[in-house]
């Protein structure tokens, strides 16, 4: 319905007024009667045995209510943190998951590891007493770099003597080797995908409370998926069965993946409440704790080789990656460098032979898990950097080399599991070339050179798989959960609508886009729709938000429930208007009976459904409420071409992204403004990875050197240009709305585009990320010498 708020309308975000005026309701805004405060004692060492924890001094500090260690947790038989995706090595052995207790037992494995918790009347008292807890550590050798981890003398988990969690492979090795033998040219590259710290605006927080009367737990927490949290805390930690545990994730201020996972601190708060007499236990991470103990992202070291034939066609691709897992396997860590990564190594290209091997390795660092894009930025980085390099080596135009190798027939089965359903890669490339004015680049480069600066152009023709995910498919690959989504539509007697969704909004704008779908379908005012999410007592079950799944999967579930609402409403309307349901039509919010002038507005039907005076309730049940579960039949495959243009200051090495073009195919779009916002944010994060962000642990001490904003550089508004966006559209065939996903695309595409531009400007194969001024300065010395 075209009421200005339906599908395709640029509706301003309904939630923003509350957020921008400081009226959001975040976990830290919530305060409960008799609340106490938790503060964690954290490891100052990268790797050490815990010989003794002395708590007697701390216990006598003012305000202390309780102090707990790993031994106290173990005494209650609470289970440890789990990794929910089983990966098998190529020799068939299961991954080597070491224990991950919520408070360390016997050993600490990274700086920031959770050793003990102090609970007190105030946050300050808890913090002061935590400083008085005396831990006797026996320092062990450590390893922080994934490149060094294999077989290092620092042995992090007993189950993995060589620190290797798994050695996994995908693709046909023999066929790929044979293709390399036939090759006319082989391109080789070594790449590092730098470790990132997520930096959600809202730090993690939790309030755990135990109702001693009802023997029931409640956990308020900063989660992207509260039902998954409840399931894990119930079924794996064994805290309480699901009907005795409620998890509430109220407003959440950004996650980027880092709030998917079940973390120790949150579980400790809800567990400990019972042992402080049922008083609520609250914890809010300090920013330093966010740096140290949120799951980090990326951290890959990769060697890749690409084989091409005499005609410039790619005939083979081989990849070996070492992926850091950090000190423990976080909730979904194992699937990130495997099924979310290597299944996309075909890129947008028709590559008949691909073989990839991944060694996942423990390091004495914060755990690594999904971070905006999760595996797909790493895959795109490898594919797009080597494709660009191959084109340069073959002296082919990088755009035309890509075009020559594009997949053009759909569906397209790649050699690495994925089956691409729809796309028009040449169309996005053409549009991007035009918007970026690639024709004018040579003149701009000459102008830069005249000023003593270096200008470069870089492409990234990314593809990603999101709309996560078909349950049977992920189950066959080792996932411990299904990845469907649920929705419930409650129509109130007055005709307003509540949508209960298992998706979770933490910046995505669901309150707006989901309401647009309802407004469109039911022809009602968008303000008469509210979106309810984030509470396991309200929403029956759901899998949460990540992997750009809320549109393609979450909204499809809503759409299916709306189908049922429409069908039921038609039956009610038919009964009231004394006609056959088959003759009732519904359009623009009005029910009409074919061939008559009878009609009822949606609100009238809603009221009739509940009053139930005007139809035979033995034939039609009263009420208007329906639910649906949607399990997708395939991933969705957003794809696009991004083009970055950079200028490097010839005196200082400062790199400026002067132009950035993104042409994306997201299928059908619900709210273009929100989609553009997602693209802007994603590109900015990717530019951050390329030029600014990089978590650094000191090799010698194992300390996190980039532990605050004094040393960890986030991208700022002034660091990025005004982006030039374009869209193409091939509707997704696997969901009724024809939607793909847009939440991660920007972060997936942009690092490769920027680094292809930087290396183009400097005429080198690789510059490591982040390409800070200092790094670039080092890599431009050959040009300076040549000029002298």
């Amino acid at each position: 319905m075209d009421n200005g708020t339906g599908i395709g309308a640029r509706v301003k975000r309904k939630e923003d007024h509350r957020f921008l005026t400081g009226k959001g309701n975040y976990t830290d805004d919530i305060n409960l009667p008799k609340q106490t405060y938790a503060y964690f004692v954290r490891s100052p060492h990268a790797h050490a045995t815990i010989n003794k924890i002395g708590t007697s001094k701390a216990r006598n500090m003012p305000g202390v209510v309780g102090i707990f260690t790993g031994e106290d947790v173990a005494a209650t038989k609470l289970g440890g943190l789990i990794c929910g995706w089983m990966i098998h090595s190529k020799d068939g052995s299961p991954m080597k998951a070491g224990p991950h207790p919520i408070l360390a037992l016997g050993k600490v494995r990274y700086v920031g590891d959770h050793v003990a918790v102090v609970i007190a009347e105030t946050r300050e008292q808890a913090k002061a007493a935590a400083a008085a807890v005396e831990v006797d550590y026996g320092v062990l050798p450590h390893v922080v770099d994934v490149a060094d981890a294999m077989g290092h003398k620092a042995q992090i988990h007993d189950v993995a003597p060589d620190n290797r969690v798994y050695n996994w492979s995908i693709g046909d090795e023999a066929a790929t080797d044979a293709a390399f033998k036939r090759a006319k040219h082989i391109t080789k590259i070594d790449l590092v995908n730098n470790r990132l710290i997520p930096n959600a605006m809202e730090p993690r927080a939790a309030i755990g409370c135990y109702d001693t009367g009802a023997e029931h737990y409640t956990l308020y927490t900063t989660s992207q998926n509260p039902h998954v949290a409840r399931l894990v805390i119930s079924a794996f930690h064994g805290l309480a069965p699901e009907h005795k545990l409620r998890v509430i994730a109220p407003d959440v201020g950004g996650g980027f993946g880092s709030k998917i996972f079940i973390y120790a601190e949150e579980v400790v708060c809800v567990w400990a409440s019972r042992f402080v007499g049922g008083r609520p236990v609250k914890w809010t991470a300090e920013r330093t704790e966010s740096f140290l103990a949120d799951a980090h992202g990326r951290d890959h070291v990769t060697h890749a080789e690409m084989a091409t034939d005499a005609d410039g066609k790619i005939i083979g691709f081989k990849v070996h990656t070492k992926a850091a897992m950090g000190a423990y396997l976080s909730t979904f860590s194992s699937c990130v460098p495997t099924y979310l990564y290597a299944t996309l190594l075909s890129g947008q290209y028709n590559i008949p032979n691909i073989y990839a091997e991944v060694d996942a390795l423990y390091t004495n660092t914060a755990p690594v898990d999904a971070y905006r894009g999760a595996g797909r930025p790493e895959a795109t980085y490898v594919v797009e950097r080597i494709v660009e390099t191959a084109a340069r080596e073959l002296k082919m135009d990088p755009a035309e080399f890509r075009r020559k190798n594009f997949v053009t027939q759909f569906p397209h089965q790649t050699p690495v599991i994925m089956c691409y359903d729809a796309g028009d890669y040449a169309a996005t490339l053409d549009k991007a070339l035009e918007i970026a004015d690639v024709k004018g680049f040579a003149a701009r480069k000459a102008a830069s050179a005249a000023k003593g600066n270096y200008r470069g152009l870089g492409y990234s023709a990314y593809i990603e798989a999101c709309g996560i995910a078909p349950s049977a498919a992920v189950g066959s690959l080792g996932a411990g959960v299904g990845l469907w989504e649920s929705a419930e539509v409650r129509v109130n007697p007055v005709g307003t609508v509540e949508i209960l969704t298992g998706s979770h909004s933490h910046g995505q704008g669901h309150e707006t886009t989901f309401a647009q779908l309802v407004s469109d379908r039911l022809g009602i005012d968008i303000n008469n729709v509210s979106i309810v999410h984030g509470d396991t007592d309200k929403v029956q079950f759901g899998m949460g938000t990540y992997g750009s799944r809320s549109g393609a999967v979450g909204m499809t579930a809503i759409s299916k429930a709306l189908d049922k609402i429409e069908a039921k409403a038609k039956r009610i309307a038919a009964a009231v208007m004394e006609s056959s349901p088959d003759d009732v039509e519904f359009k623009n919010g009005t029910f009409t009976v074919k061939g008559t002038d009878k009609k009822m507005a949606f609100g009238e039907v809603a009221l009739s459904a509940y009053v139930a005076h005007k139809f035979n309730s033995a034939q039609v049940e009263p009420g208007l409420k329906e639910s649906a579960f949607h399990d997708p039949s395939n991933f969705v495959f957003p794809a696009g071409v991004h083009i970055a243009e950079v200028e490097i200051d010839g005196d200082t090495g400062v790199t400026t992204v002067v132009n950035y073009t993104a042409v994306d195919d997201f299928g059908n779009v619900i709210n273009p403004m929100i989609v553009e916002g997602q693209v802007h944010g994603g590109i900015t994060q990717g530019i951050g990875q390329a030029l600014a962000e990089g978590a650094v642990y000191d090799k010698e001490s194992g300390q996190l050197l980039t532990g605050s904003y004094m040393d960890y550089q986030m991208p700022r508004a002034a660091d990025v240009p005004s982006y030039k966006l374009g869209f193409t559209c091939t509707p997704c065939p696997s969901n009724p709305l024809g939607m793909k996903g847009c939440g991660e695309a920007g972060a997936i595409a942009s690092p490769a585009a920027v680094m292809n531009a930087v290396t183009d400007a400097l005429g080198v194969v690789d510059v490591p990320m982040p390409a800070t001024p200092h790094v670039v300065w080092k890599y431009m010395q050959h040009l300076k010498k040549a000029a002298e």
């Binding site: 200082t652 040393d711 960890y712």
Partner: protein
């Protein structure tokens, strides 16, 4: 942050008296450095003496530019008088931190703190400023004594900074990519007694670059600096920049400062 006692005296004398009476008191001006260090547990003074009630802000331009200690960076940056007399000083103040910091942080606090990456110390040294305190007047050369250390005695309070007006001066800052403090900041001035070049961010504390000053003796122009350099030895080397890179940037920033000089 630890608890502390809080005072807000109305006169410099009362402030000094209060400070001297306590073993571990700290003055607070804008609080933009002091409060973050207290929050991180790097400082836990027993007593805070807030200088906010002293009414010690203001700018007077005559033969010299006198800026009272409590004047915020934003006031200096937007002052028409400073822009006219020493435009480089206004520009420097306008490039400190962000708008919040510039509206709270003060010149006295910045100079007293002598952060090796702060901007103002380079202007003080580059222009040959005089630091006025409750007790005496100290030449910039004698005031900055090393990393975070100054010639201030216990309880001594800065009341104003007095800058001679140069023929022309410029400031060029290469910000640390993360913190935006100076990774290398160069203040270059053409003064009555000849060229002066002060460097911040690159060493353990602000220092004068004599090699660059003598190069500029050939003429106060960027071209004079070609081939001139500060040796890398002794400069800071960290995550963000090696000593060699800093040494390189000093010459680049010095050229830019001279080019920008007005």
């Amino acid at each position: 942050m630890e608890n502390f006692n809080y005072y807000r005296p109305a006169s410099v004398d009362d402030a000094v008296k209060a400070a001297k009476a306590k073993p571990d008191a700290k003055y607070m001006s804008g609080g933009m450095t002091l409060i973050p260090t207290m929050k991180q547990g790097l400082a836990s003074p027993s007593d805070i003496i807030d200088l906010g009630a002293l009414k010690n802000s203001g700018i007077a331009v005559g033969a010299t530019v006198v800026i009272k200690a409590g004047t915020t960076h934003a006031e200096v940056a937007s002052s028409a008088d400073v822009k006219k007399a020493i435009p480089a000083l206004a520009a420097l103040a306008g490039g400190i931190g962000d708008p919040h910091v510039r509206h709270k942080g003060t010149i006295g606090g910045s100079v007293a703190n002598n952060d090796p990456a702060a901007d103002y110390p380079s202007a003080c040294l580059g222009l040959g400023a005089t630091i006025h305190t409750n007790a005496r007047k100290i030449k910039a050369e004698d005031f900055f004594t090393g990393m975070f250390s100054t010639a201030l005695e216990d309880g001594e309070v800065i009341t104003a900074i007095e800058f001679p007006i140069p023929k022309k001066a410029g400031y060029a800052k290469f910000p640390n990519p993360a913190s935006r403090y100076a990774m290398v900041g160069v203040f270059a001035a053409d003064t009555a007694e000849g060229p002066r070049v002060a460097v911040t961010g690159a060493g353990a504390g602000v220092f004068r670059a004599s090699a660059l000053e003598s190069a500029l003796g050939k003429g106060f122009a960027a071209g004079s600096l070609t081939g001139a350099a500060v040796p890398a030895k002794g400069l800071n080397s960290d995550l963000h920049a090696s000593a060699e890179y800093r040494a390189h940037l000093i010459t680049v920033m010095a050229k830019r400062a001279v080019d920008a000089a007005k």
